[in-house]
Amino acid sequence: MHPARMSLVVAAMSLLLPGCNSTAKIMSDLMEERSLGDPKAASVKAGKDRKAAPDFELKDANGHTVRLSDYRGKVVLLDFWATWCGPCKIEIPWFREFERENKDKGFAVLGVAMDEEGWDVVKPFAHYMNINYRLVIGNESIADQFGGVDALPTTFLIDREGKIAAVHVGLSGKRDFENGIRELL
């Protein structure tokens, strides 16, 4: 559905259902279905057009070293996010689902939190959001390696050879991610 048309539908529902608490749920459900922005910008690129993802070395919540290259052979959803980022919060439940449903198929979600306060804020937030995938704390250097990630969320889909197959900048549609993951698996 065209985004403008969808907004009209939601507005009409709000008018027809005054005081109804389900408007937010309706909005959330529609967002799961839609593709925000230009779907082509986020679609999976042909193998010959993919470039290698920069490697990095960061610590996870348990102090273990995480290298992106450790994930070679797996499809990786690499999510740059932050606790203060509202749109990032929308995507987290989707990523939990992707991790749960695909982890045995050679897939992993890796979240890179860009919070300046580090684990002090990220750990409680991750607990609150029931995040079931691995997290690391990012920094400007890592963001620069990935082209200067500034807008959050920014999410990279990385193929089994460690190449960037798709980039989603800003809140994307759940279906976009699902299609990309399915194609790469």
Partner: protein, 156 residues
Amino acid sequence: MGFVNYSKLAVTLLLLPAAFAQSNPILTVAQPQKLAAKRNTDVTAKIEVSIAAGYHVNSNAPHEAYLIPLRLTWTPAPLAVETVIFPKARDEKYQFSEQPLSVFTGNFEIATKFKVPADALSGPSILAGKLRYQACNNTMCFPPKTVEVKLPIEIQ
């Protein structure tokens, strides 16, 4: 031509739209007018803030604890801050929020009430302030930033 990191270049090109948004500042502060400050009185300074169309910043009192509030702080001398007065925030609903968020958009003023100490040295001076904000649009957010504010004052 020297070494070119093509993968980095490709990623950079993909992220250009977001980079463009940040190259044009989301929040700007107009240069404040000179403030005349008589010793042993209260004076009020106003700063004018503009938010680019399509963006918002969290208000000074966001509804949700995880959001970063708008903050204006000043150096403690030569004037003493009594209160910082923000305008009434707007509650707005965004695609990414189940509940309306308390935000500022467009143009607004932040006032600061200062006490001019009885022993303040007379003459011109500059009061330095910092405005910390965190901005988003309907689909993405940007890291918190701080804008420096320089308030010229004349203590009489």
